[in-house]
Symmetry: C2
Subunit: 201 residues, 2 copies
């Protein structure tokens, strides 16, 4: 899918592509995934529906690619290497300012629900967002193991994404507050690092 899509996307300029992604996310915030149509994206961006289908194949891939385009720090996760696991995790949290994080949180919540009713959306989100993020996370963790910071058989290693994603979502549900950098730093030191066996003193 990735190679085909890259070839397809090369027909429009990166600037135009960014405009289309931004308009898609605006519409998604306004009407939700179910009510979002390719017609509406075409009208909002003054492009033809045929162009949209040629470039992205359909709504699910367009939405997943738009989310990926605006994901935290672009695609810079792989470049984070501070020399310590705590430093790497903190750098991950700093990729977004609080305002962007709040917008993404609302979008992800809505898409999480929509993905349950739309297997093609779930697959596109997994392929374009979740799996690449998991792979990069695992690189960060592997460096922590290689440095001797974490034991390779620590059972919490299997749940690092669960802890992070869970803490992010639970903040809104339980405290009625948006996740902020301050909250995520505190959660990292209180929960994630101790579960991995790292002291935070």
């Amino acid at each position: 899918m990735t190679e085909v899509a890259t070839a397809r996307r090369s027909r429009i300029t990166p600037e135009r592509e960014a405009e289309l992604y931004a308009a898609t996310l605006d519409l998604l915030r306004e009407v939700g995934y179910e009510a979002l149509t390719m017609d509406a994206v075409a009208a909002r961006t003054k492009s033809s529906k045929a162009t949209l289908y040629r470039q992205w194949g359909g709504k699910a891939e367009l939405v997943a690619r738009a989310m990926r385009h605006f994901k935290p720090g672009g695609n810079a996760l792989g470049e984070i290497d501070t020399g310590s696991l705590r430093g790497d995790f903190q750098a991950l949290l700093l990729r977004d300012d609080d305002c962007t994080m709040q917008q993404n949180s609302a979008l992800m919540r809505a898409l999480g629900v929509a993905a349950h009713a739309n297997p093609d959306l779930l697959q596109a989100l997994r392929e374009l967002l979740i799996e690449p993020e998991l792979a990069e996370f695992n690189k960060v963790l592997q460096r922590g193991i290689d440095r001797g910071e974490i034991s390779a058989d620590n059972p919490a290693l299997a749940y690092v994404m669960h802890m992070m994603v869970g803490g992010f979502i639970a903040r809104t549900l339980i405290d009625e507050l948006p996740p902020t950098q301050a909250y995520l730093r505190s959660y990292l030191d209180a929960v994630v690092l101790p579960a991995l066996g790292l002291s935070t003193d």
Copy 2:
């Protein structure tokens, strides 16, 4: 709200009340919160809309009370006291079988999104579900502190609900698997107890 509602609810039998709650949750699963109407609940349960409004005031309270009626282990959380924090947490997880847990997980996900657009639903869910559960959780934790199992100033104490709720939700999002008792036990031993400073050996 609680006292008024109790007085109101006393006009129908507990059996009839349980039927109405079950029908409300069935409809909720079928059409979602936004499309759920008091008309539809009245039709499905062969009751009058006037009765429903008199008993529950509106859709938000009806839904929150229906969720509370079927919440894990009824209202038995306060009765759990196994003598250890790990035992208490395991008993909490055992309140529901896997099938019930899966149904609740889907409902909570949908209601979580609806609550963001409906402040009255959010308030009813907080008042009737989240706050009572938090208060009972805090009793379990306080006993752990009193027994000397947890340090009273452990920063993870503030995030116990975040860890549990987060782990529950993240299972579906990240692994595309429903949360099961086996998963939650494993998550408890790998994440929650170590973050609280308890050994799980």
